[in-house]
Symmetry: C2
Subunit: 399 residues, 2 copies
């Protein structure tokens, strides 16, 4: 089978006209918006042209089915409120191109898919959450977007064309291609990332409670300054985590709320978000212990109290070894010395599909690491290289 790079790029550019917005190649195509439904209708037409059978399920996931049990290849075509032309659309059009190249070649059986609401207008990865069984449709129906529209009402737009949910065993695996959404490949000059695992995420709110005081009359040595506790915690934590983490582990303090947050008042309270991500569940747990111990120690030394909010977590998901191997063989063939194994720091539909089917992912570079923005972009040569690696792996896996 021979995927057609020109047809692939032409379809990518055609798709980005549906919902084109902002600057450059920007797109606004939120799940179940008019542009999203138009895009799915356009996709169904391309599937029909390729002799694939379009099928939309009650959650809006849009499949292009080959005959018989097949390999599924795809991603999502909905976007963030301000999105780029690639993100999930890249993986959807790559799936389409590979499925039709297989059809053109008389096999192997490859189907394609665009999952719905990966970008979380209503939930988080809503369409693949539902199809994988993690989320019940009736529960999703009660999810509201920030404008007060609920999922149940939004999906009435497909009520007359939606069929049943497909059985998972119609497929023997799932491949997803995506832009990296980070700077790693771009900065190192590499072209392909074979995803080893999709990282787990731990999120916890931590609060230091000190003593609010007058910033003029309270001597330094009598202060219980909650921001100073936060700063000390951060410094110690950065040092201590070095012994626990790998180069791909990340941790972030992204949200801070001081109280009363006034220039003339010693902060009595510092509430902040502590988030950490890694592909290894044991490492996430070790990091949690370091975080809790360090915060408790800082609070004790400063004669303050510290409170930990509930630990919110998403388990790491390992990619299927056989499918990873196929991607690595293909990467070696098309991009020797220009690929590497890497974890995915972001969530993807593959996180869900991996719970019901063997699944694997491939990344192409994001210029400047820019993502979820109108000016997200990737060199077209890199997109084509990604398509070729994916197609070679898909052919090997589907045969």
């Amino acid at each position: 089978m021979k995927p057609n790079p020109d047809r692939f790029l032409q379809d990518l550019h055609e798709l980005r006209q549906i919902g084109a917005a902002g600057i450059g190649k920007g797109v606004q195509r939120r799940a179940f918006s008019a542009a999203d439904l138009t895009a799915r209708s356009w996709l169904a037409d391309r599937m029909r042209d390729a002799d694939l059978t379009p099928h939309i399920d009650p959650a809006g996931n849009t499949f292009g089915l080959a005959d018989g049990r097949s390999l599924l290849v795809g991603s999502h075509s909905d976007t963030q409120p301000e999105g780029g032309w690639l993100d999930g659309a890249l993986g959807v059009v790559a799936g389409l191109e590979i499925a039709r190249a297989a059809k053109d070649a008389g096999g192997p059986p490859i189907s394609c898919v665009s999952f719905q609401d990966e970008e979380g207008r209503f939930g988080v990865l809503t369409g693949s959450d539902i199809w994988s069984g993690k989320l019940v449709l009736a529960d999703a129906d009660r999810f509201y977007d920030t404008d007060g529209v609920c999922f149940a009402d939004a999906r009435t737009g497909i009520a007359d064309i939606a069929g049943e949910f497909l059985q998972h065993d119609m497929f023997n695996g799932f491949l997803e291609m995506h832009i990296e959404q980070g700077p790693y490949l771009d900065e190192t000059g590499l072209k392909i990332g074979v995803v080893s695992d999709i990282v787990g995420i731990c999120d916890m709110t931590i609060v230091f409670e000190g003593r609010q005081n007058h910033a003029g009359t309270t001597p330094m040595h009598l202060r219980q300054d909650a921001f100073q506790a936060l700063s000390k915690f951060n410094t110690l934590l950065n040092d201590r985590l070095r012994n626990v983490v790998t180069p791909t582990t990340v941790w972030t303090i992204g949200h801070i709320a001081l109280h009363p947050n006034a220039s003339s008042v010693v902060p009595g309270r510092a509430e902040f978000s502590m988030q950490w991500r890694d592909g290894d569940a044991d490492r996430l747990a070790r990091m949690e212990r370091v975080i809790r111990d360090t915060a408790s120690e800082v609070a004790k030394d400063a004669n303050m109290s510290v409170n930990f909010g509930a630990l919110m977590g998403i388990e790491p998901v390992a990619m299927d070894q056989r499918m990873r191997d196929a991607l690595e063989v293909a990467a070696d063939q098309h991009a020797p010395e220009l690929w590497r194994r890497m974890p995915s720091g972001a969530l993807h539909d593959a996180s869900n599909i991996a719970t019901v089917l063997p699944a694997a992912m491939l990344f192409v570079p994001s210029i400047g690491g820019i993502s979820h923005a109108f000016d997200e972009d990737t060199d077209e040569a890199d997109l084509v290289l990604g398509l070729q690696v994916l197609a070679t792996a898909a052919e090997a896996l589907a045969s």
Copy 2:
């Protein structure tokens, strides 16, 4: 002359009934509120009873005048939105008691005063700002409180009783007694603080601009995390300032705004307040250099930019040496080994009056350092001790 501790305490308790609120001995008596005007009318009656001449100026500053050139003793009787019974009222009633004790004794000439709006409903130390000539009445008239009431309208409540502004040379000096509003005296068991100077305040907004990024896909070594820059700056600054400051110098990061302030996003921007206070203008300038150099160095190391807002400043004000000496002699007499020299970390009316008259201040302890709160308090024995020190100094200075 012999001040009467019982009469002094009784008047303090009587005054706190005017605007009594909240818990314990709490008071709500904002400048030009009904309670404030009632309190000033009550004060004028007490002055008349003592054969002092009440005089209210166009800004609402309320004087009780002795005959001839006199020493002025007082503070302010307006409160914060949630105030305690002492704060400025203590200094006002102490001034009243000392003026009438002098009157009872046939001299020396001592007048008393309650300045208006020290707590800044409309401006900052509005009444003494105007009387000292720092602020023009017509400009103050255009100041609005947070409810949209302007100073011009507020002071119509005294239009029919206000006289002219008094000449400064009617007085030969100004003494002010105040609660410390900090924990120092309370924690050390000392009873009297003789104020050496009222500290200067420098205030500057600093902004670190890094790069906003995905908290999952951006490796640690490629981040330009503005909060990490702030934390590093804070750590370095605390270390470097140790070589520049004295034990009474203070510095505070009290306000922080991260952008976009979300747990899953590496902060691209950290805006924060940097405030520092000291009695020595040269030291304030040296601290400013350390602050600017450290922030610039941190930004450069992290390949970020840093921006400094305008430097807002209030110059430090030294207390008059002869008046300080008199307070120290009196403190030695009434509270041997139980007093010390200390700067005032908070602003007071004496900051303004020191620009037009010799001025000095005396502190009594604040229990737990609590201030600007309903539960602000001081032992009555400490209040009386403060009155006695102040009276002895006033008698020496006015004679």
